[in-house]
């Protein structure tokens, strides 16, 4: 039986702890505190209750229960929160992590296996944490003749591009999106175009034959499936007359576009499978032919970054499908407040001395509403931002639909075998492009027949 630390002595242990504490204190004093002070000069601080929030005030209010909610509200409406946490990276990474776990368990159930089982008490739920720790702590091995700068840069660029894609996805009504562009869909096409470049660069930089073959396959596949991907979304653009993703969602308040554009939805779904390199289109990572494709030489956290990026990409594509074809966050509002007239006009009470009209205020969600009657103001169009109740119900619907689409993206992995390269290119160049043109003609027909569009029946 081996001993973990044969020369363990309490003195060395304490010395190690004290050394670490000493260096942390020194670094914080010399570098950390000056950095924070310089950063505080540059950050525009919010005004809460007529007071400019300073660092002292923030620390004081943290322990004052009445001031905590305004403080948290100011944080919720800041740009940093949007980028790092809610509609941006943190939210997407959470869904991506859930996707990895669900994928493993679901595939196991499909194939009558058990899947991750031993980490954590319930169904191996801590397996993700274990895998993440393993990836972080493993050594990063770089091939001897690799092109080092590109080899290091490619995974970081991959995650960065995936995060840029996530930043374009609107999650809830009222501008809950990191970058609300007027040409959002075109920006999505531009961002998608970066993935083949990064793939082929990382494949080339490894200077190894399997990554290079995988990279060339990925390039073929992504470039040829980008065309039907773009064409299949143009039908919806013709019907809505806008490229802004939030406006595309708001145009589906009564019915989702998948009712009129089923062909476009199917073509888009197949191209998404190909762009994500999922089975049955996983030729770039075909493990029975070319080891692991363009991921072969990656190890440690570099591999982890590529996996994180690809699952962020999966979330973003599923969210794009939801936004364009399934109506995004639209759905019934959970616990809607009282009637609008009851709040704005009230019920007249006969024979009452004093104020003869009974009005009601319905406090919404205290953390997310700025004003108690926000839902009513939202209904009457007096409010630019969204109220807390619409936010919560919108996020719930969006997440439910996105999780459903992710499930259908994962499902073929347990069902279908990998297809041949020539069949893949045949599908992409002949069938999908033709079908997406059919979809565009259906959209044009609907517009010119006066069914949908400006001045249409619906």
């Amino acid at each position: 039986m081996s001993v973990i630390a044969p020369k363990f002595r309490l003195g060395y242990f304490l010395k190690g702890i004290f050394d670490n504490a000493f260096w942390i204190l020194t670094l914080v004093t010399l570098a950390g505190i000056p950095t924070i002070q310089i950063a505080l000069f540059l950050i525009p601080l919010p005004v809460i209750n007529g007071q400019l929030l300073t660092a002292y005030l923030a620390f004081t209010w943290l322990f004052n229960p009445t001031m905590q909610i305004p403080l948290i509200k100011a944080l919720l409406y800041s740009d940093l929160f949007r980028i790092a946490a809610f509609p941006g990276f943190g939210f997407a990474a959470l869904i991506a992590a859930g996707t990895i776990f669900v994928e493993r368990k679901m595939l196991a159930k499909l194939q009558l296996r058990v899947g991750p089982f031993y980490c954590g008490k319930i169904e191996g739920i801590l397996q993700l944490v274990a895998d993440g720790l393993k990836l972080i702590s493993k050594e990063i091995i770089i091939p001897a003749k690799a092109d080092k700068p590109l080899f290091w840069a490619a995974p970081v660029l991959f995650v960065g591009t995936a995060a840029a894609f996530v930043a374009l996805i609107p999650v809830a009504p009222g501008g809950w999106v990191v970058a609300d562009l007027d040409v959002g869909l075109l920006a999505v096409f531009a961002v998608i175009g970066f993935f083949p470049i990064i793939t082929i660069l990382s494949a080339w930089s490894a200077n190894s034959k399997f990554p290079f073959i995988g990279g060339i396959r990925a390039l073929h596949q992504m470039v040829s499936f980008e065309i039907p991907l773009i064409l299949s979304l143009l039908g919806v653009v013709i019907l809505t007359g806008t490229l802004n993703l939030s406006e595309i969602v708001e145009s589906q308040s009564s019915f989702p576009w998948i009712i009129f554009m089923p062909i476009g939805a199917i073509v888009f779904f197949i191209t998404v499978l190909a762009e994500l390199e999922r089975i049955p289109f996983d030729l770039p990572e075909a493990e029975s032919e070319i080891v692991a494709g363009w991921l072969t030489e990656f190890s440690g956290m570099i591999y982890g970054l590529v996996q994180l990026g690809s699952y962020l990409k999966l979330y973003a594509f599923a969210a794009l499908f939801v936004i364009i074809f399934l109506g995004g966050w639209t759905g019934p509002v959970f616990w809607p407040p009282l009637d609008v007239e009851l709040i704005t006009e009230g019920i007249p009470i006969p024979n009452y001395v004093g104020d003869p009209i009974l009005t009601v205020t319905t406090p919404g969600l205290p953390l997310l509403d700025k004003d108690p009657n926000e839902w009513v103001m939202q209904q009457q169009g007096e409010l630019v931002y969204t109220s807390g109740q619409l936010l919560v119900s919108g996020v719930i619907w969006f997440v439910l639909k996105t999780v459903g689409v992710i499930f259908f993206i994962l499902l073929p992995r347990g069902v279908f075998p990998r297809i041949r390269l020539d069949m893949l290119l045949h599908i992409g160049w002949y069938k999908l492009i033709g079908l997406s043109f059919v979809n565009i003609f259906i959209a044009l027909g609907l517009v010119y027949a006066g069914v949908i569009g400006p001045g249409g029946i619906l």
Binding site: D182, V183, A187, A190, F194, I200, W204, L219, D422, W429
Partner: protein
Amino acid sequence: MADALFLAISILTIGSAIAALEMRSLVYGSIALMGTLGGIAGFYVMLDSTFVAMFQLAVYVGSIAVLILFTVMLVKRELIFKKIEDPKRKFAGIGLMLIVILALGAIIMDSGIKTITTDSDPVDFREIGGDFLTYYWPALILMALILAGSVMGALVLARREDTVENEQ
């Protein structure tokens, strides 16, 4: 802020253009070319025409650069570059380019472009689309025909002779 951004994008664009020409490694040269094309997209964003900028990114950085990379990676670079470098030629080239740029800039600056001040809104891309469908429709039809012809040509060229395989 806008001036600093303009300077940064200019340095990126011109610097990566020089790098694209002068780098010995073809792959790094094409990456630098991507930097140039992306910098031009940055200029479009600064000029309030996001629509053109996105097309610049999607078409030039996303497709043309991929084609160049793809071609470059299939080339054995040792066979091409065995020439002994002549540093004078290099510096003469850079100098010539800078002179041309400065001369063009001086001509543009001298043409009275500085005195133009406009507060009008940037042109909406919907207006561009409307113009294309009304006044410039022959050009649009011509472009569509050329594109359709080239796509069909590509399909015909990429067609496989499957019949021979089936007979075997």
